[in-house]
Symmetry: C2
Subunit: 236 residues, 2 copies
């Protein structure tokens, strides 16, 4: 059968070539790319095509262009800006419930994995954050530390995908309900419930008890759900 | 304190403007964008900047450019090509274990959610796929149907993020170990274990029993892990 010949634009082919080199390990974190003129020669395409390909990789956060220095493979993916996932989420009418649901699933397991894999120096990091949370004297500060504790737990799973997905979801959450975390924290503030829960989470992870860690995180999310149910602003 | 003024390039600003319009719901699935010349006028920037911004959004799969018709907000995200997650995964030295671990976590919960939320017509879809799996007469065919069953379960959670993340991870898996699924299936083929497991998964989801569905999927992954441990090719 005749199938349509896929008509790929040159800049797209250049971009895919660079992506393939990354996937094949030929280009690594922080590597400098050849000059645009040089790349155009090597690939036998126009400089415009090379520039377009580089721009698109810059936008998805894979390439960093430094003024006067050239193009590099990013070392810092935090600046990746709004990610495709956020856009697809919006276009497909994603719900706030979807975000909470996946955080719930991933963070409970992340707590368990972190408990299994945490090292002594990483325990100190969590202890330190907990200490700061208990001493914080503003709501905004508590929001930041809370976020950081969850981030560190994800990091301590040693699973790049869990960390990366939770990071993306966290920025999605920030975009959709900028002050959700603040509101949840305010609701849970009653009886120092929030501090109590994070103390449980951190201590059970430090103790290395997988099931206790999962249970502590589960309880935390149950409370988050309860606080949301009592908060009419989250109805959507 | 003086902080560096962030020097954002014009094409980047244009891209962010379009992304923001999507996030704000001003641009929807399938919408046609104004002509490039028109957009340049409206935003008071050069046509080159508009074109560069559109190209980059095209590469991340958000915009579709149709020859002679113009630029549209994509309706089909499957063609998004290699995604940033794959690149970041490679650059950060992600391991095969990471992929399996997150699939394990997400798919067990997906089975539970699908059992809770499945409708009558969706039950027919699963039954039909199971039937095809049992009747398939080639290994390649079974691989395809197996993939499809997992995809449908993710879809039936009604959670856009779960579906999207599992899709991305699935393509990651395909890239890294193209024939992993085939090998796993071959190993599990003994005693028709694979067919038996998928029968259990599908039937428990159809029965609407959340816990049974989670248990069936968990058992499936336990077997996948076992088959991998006995397969030295997956050591990395």
């Amino acid at each position: 059968m005749f199938e349509p010949i896929k008509n790929k634009k040159i800049h797209q082919q250049v971009s895919e070539k660079i992506q393939k080199m990354i996937l094949d390990g030929e280009l690594k974190l922080g590597d400098k790319l050849p000059a645009e003129r040089k790349m155009a020669e090597m690939l036998d395409v126009s400089r415009t095509s090379v520039r377009e390909a580089l721009r698109s990789l810059e936008i998805i956060g894979i390439i960093e262009s430094r003024q006067g220095e050239g193009n590099f493979i990013s070392e810092n993916f935090d600046q990746a800006g709004l990610e495709p996932l956020s856009l697809i989420f919006t276009l497909k009418n994603g719900k706030f419930r979807d975000i909470l649901e996946i955080r719930n699933i991933l963070e409970i397991e992340a707590a368990g994995l972190a408990a299994e894999r945490i090292t002594e120096d990483k325990k100190e990091v969590l202890k330190d954050l907990l200490d700061k949370l208990l001493k914080a004297d503003s709501e905004a500060e508590r929001v930041e530390i809370d976020k950081n504790i969850h981030y560190k737990i994800a990091e301590f799973t040693n699973n790049i995908l869990i960390l990366n997905i939770l990071e993306t979801i966290s920025s999605l959450m920030t975009y959709f309900i900028e002050d959700a975390r603040l509101k949840i924290i305010q609701t849970l503030k009653v009886d120092n419930l929030l501090e109590e829960m994070h103390k449980n989470i951190v201590n059970s992870i430090i103790s290395g008890d997988k099931n206790k860690a999962r249970k502590a995180m589960k309880e935390h999310f149950n409370n988050v759900y309860l606080s949301i149910e009592n908060n009419e602003e989250f109805d959507n």
